[in-house]
């Protein structure tokens, strides 16, 4: 393994901002893995750090196959992480909405450009991602539909679901989108948590990444039996929105199978605790995503459910 300093940026008053990469093996650029690009993606950074650790062990055992290079970048925005901000510490812009970047542009465009230069040209790109809406979700692999997405291969991660989604104009600046346009098979891995650590979902994500690399002949690291992934186009998800605002009391969680009419939770009056709205499932299905904040707005998204086939 070579630990490399990939990018530096001087700060007016803080220490220098540095992006480090961990390079394993040599030869064909096989897989690049990117962790936290937002300051609250602690789980994503943790998973990446554990992947680096696992690859070190595999390297010692000679289990990284010859002619394969792996690059892991656990953190690309610790300036925000260190002060508990989600977006870039100075101007609140989102590094993950600046791709492919611009080396002569604004600061986060420069960070994105430098990062993209490092992770370009790999056969596979894996990003530990977080969603723009808060909530907990079932671990899954997400791909934008660009015409270059390889959904069947996404099943090799062995997570419960693969999901494809239609990019909107503002999605064209995401790493996943640009990776694909530049011919890297890109997969965003959602491991359920963001700002807090969850060991079980972290272990699921680590195993999924190692399983994928094993399946592609990049490493020798047999993993425990995996899920037979089900593909879900994002448009198939059924949304449950809050008819009332108030305190959210949930009785169901991601991965639960629910029946039509089943009570999934309540929205309570914040003054007297009475039930303002009973949340019922409109269909038989599996909860894919659930809100996780104690307060809910009217029309706030509470659940997204995968309908039974």
């Amino acid at each position: 393994m070579k630990k490399e300093l990939l990018f530096t940026l001087k700060s007016p008053c803080r220490d220098t901002f540095r992006i480090h990469g961990f390079r394993f093996g040599s030869g064909k650029k096989s897989v690049a893995i990117v962790g936290a690009m937002r300051g609250d993606e602690v789980q994503q950074q943790y998973v990446c750090a554990r992947v680096v650790n696992a690859l070190l062990t595999l390297e010692d055992r000679g289990a990284i196959n010859p002619e394969h290079e792996i690059l892991v970048i656990p953190s690309a925005n610790h300036f925000s992480m260190n002060i508990s901000k989600r977006f870039w510490a100075m101007d609140n812009t989102d590094v993950n909405r600046m791709f492919p970047g611009f080396s002569q542009g604004e600061t986060t465009q420069r960070i994105a450009a430098a990062l993209f230069k490092q992770v370009q040209g790999y056969s596979y790109g894996i990003q530990l991602a977080s969603f723009y809406m808060s909530g907990d979700c079932v671990p899954h692999i997400r791909m934008m539909r660009t015409g270059y997405e390889d959904e069947p291969l996404g099943k090799s991660f062995g997570l419960p679901y693969t999901m494809t989604c239609q990019p909107r104009p503002y999605d064209t600046t995401l790493l996943n989108y640009n990776w694909q346009i530049w011919k890297t098979k890109a997969y965003s891995l959602y491991c359920g948590q963001t700002a807090s650590l969850d060991e079980q979902s972290a272990q699921t994500a680590i195993s999924a990444i190692l399983r994928f690399m094993d399946s592609q002949g990049i490493i020798k690291s047999p993993q425990s039996p995996a899920f037979l992934s089900q593909h879900v186009p994002e448009e198939k998800l059924v949304h449950i929105k809050a008819h009332k605002a108030g305190i959210l009391f949930l009785m169901s969680k991601p991965h639960d199978h629910v029946a039509r009419g089943q009570i999934l939770g309540h929205i309570l009056d914040p003054y007297d605790g009475s039930i303002r709205w009973e949340i019922q499932s409109p269909i038989d299905g599996t909860i894919f995503h659930a809100a996780n904040k104690p307060l809910v707005l009217e029309n706030g998204l509470l659940f997204r459910i995968i309908p039974d086939a």
Binding site: P12, M90, N92, G105, E106, A245, E298
Partner: protein, 308 residues
């Protein structure tokens, strides 16, 4: 008459209200809308809305048609010094046309769009952000220039910037409305979190000028017509910081500068040294200048227009 176009419950004893002032007079059926406050840190439009609302209500006999004024498309952001929508990751002006089935922010922008569609003209007022100060200017994409340039030229603005269409900007309010045959001119002026009264007063006169041309206003206009500089008659140059430090400007925005003139310096307060001196390469107009002193490598320092 104040109308509530959207109302949505917040968790504890409060409604999110999107409101507009609707002023109608005469027999004309044209509808002119002024919107602002999409970004909660851009306040220049507040003064324009106040002046226009008051002027029209006091002079209804000179109005022919309907003027609708939307001062706060993002009221939670404005009231909490927050650029975006609190509790939502995405920029409100990057999620149009919205989604009636999406999150609260996405369904709100959908509702706002539906309310504006069909207007004869919309002026969407922005104020840069806290980092930059801008001369009053219209921003028009090349795809809408034929329709919008004649309107922008009447708004008493110093500069009209015609820019290439960019995919990511297809999710703005202006793009969504223009796509729906509702013409929108985007105005940028001033700086975030502040009001530049002179600019607001000037834009109100420009709006009255446009309304006169539309047959909606018969009252006086207190400013003589102003000839705007068109970006297509020259080049726009960007100056980005090459060093991180504290920026000290030596010119103001809206200033004509000469080639070789110093625009400002980036200094290191700890070492007591100058890290970078920034000079104009050509004669031209500084139409954007850094307002927030702390800069990182890449931070935008200034934009200049140079005539060909």
């Amino acid at each position: 008459m104040i109308k509530t176009i959207l109302s949505s419950e917040l968790p504890v004893d409060e409604q999110l209200l999107i409101q507009k002032q609707s002023i109608t007079s005469g027999t004309g059926n044209k509808r002119f809308c002024v919107v602002t406050g999409t970004h909660g840190d851009e306040l220049e439009g507040q003064y324009v809305c106040y002046l226009l609302s008051r002027l029209l209500q006091e002079n209804k006999d000179k109005l022919n048609g309907t003027v609708e004024i939307y001062p706060a498309l993002n009221p939670l952001g404005i009231d909490s010094t927050t650029r975006g929508v609190p509790n939502f990751d995405l920029d409100m002006n990057r999620i149009f046309p919205g989604d009636p089935h999406g999150s609260m922010a996405e369904s709100t922008v959908h509702g706002i769009l539906q309310d504006l569609v069909g207007a004869d003209l919309v002026i969407d007022i922005h104020a840069s952000n806290i980092f930059l100060r801008e001369v009053p200017q219209a921003r028009i994409s090349t795809s809408t220039v034929d329709k919008l340039l004649p309107i922008a030229e009447q708004l008493h603005l110093e500069f009209i910037w015609i820019h290439e269409a960019v995919t990511v900007l297809e999710s703005t309010l202006a793009y969504a409305l223009n796509e729906r045959d509702t013409p929108v001119v985007v105005v940028e002026m001033g700086v975030g979190l502040r009001i530049t009264q002179e600019y607001g007063e000037r834009l109100v006169q420009g709006i009255l000028n446009v309304m006169t041309d539309m047959g909606m206003w018969t009252g006086p206009i207190s400013l003589p017509p102003c000839e705007s500089i068109l970006s297509t008659t020259g080049e726009v140059e960007f100056f980005n910081a090459s060093e991180s430090g504290i920026f000290i400007p030596y010119v103001d925005h809206s200033m004509e500068v000469s080639a070789g003139q110093i625009l400002g310096e980036i200094v290191d307060p700890l070492a007591g040294t100058v890290l970078e001196s920034i000079y104009a390469k050509e004669d031209g107009l500084v139409f954007t200048i850094r307002a927030y002193p702390v800069v990182y490598e890449g931070s935008l320092i200034a934009r200049m227009f140079t005539k060909r």
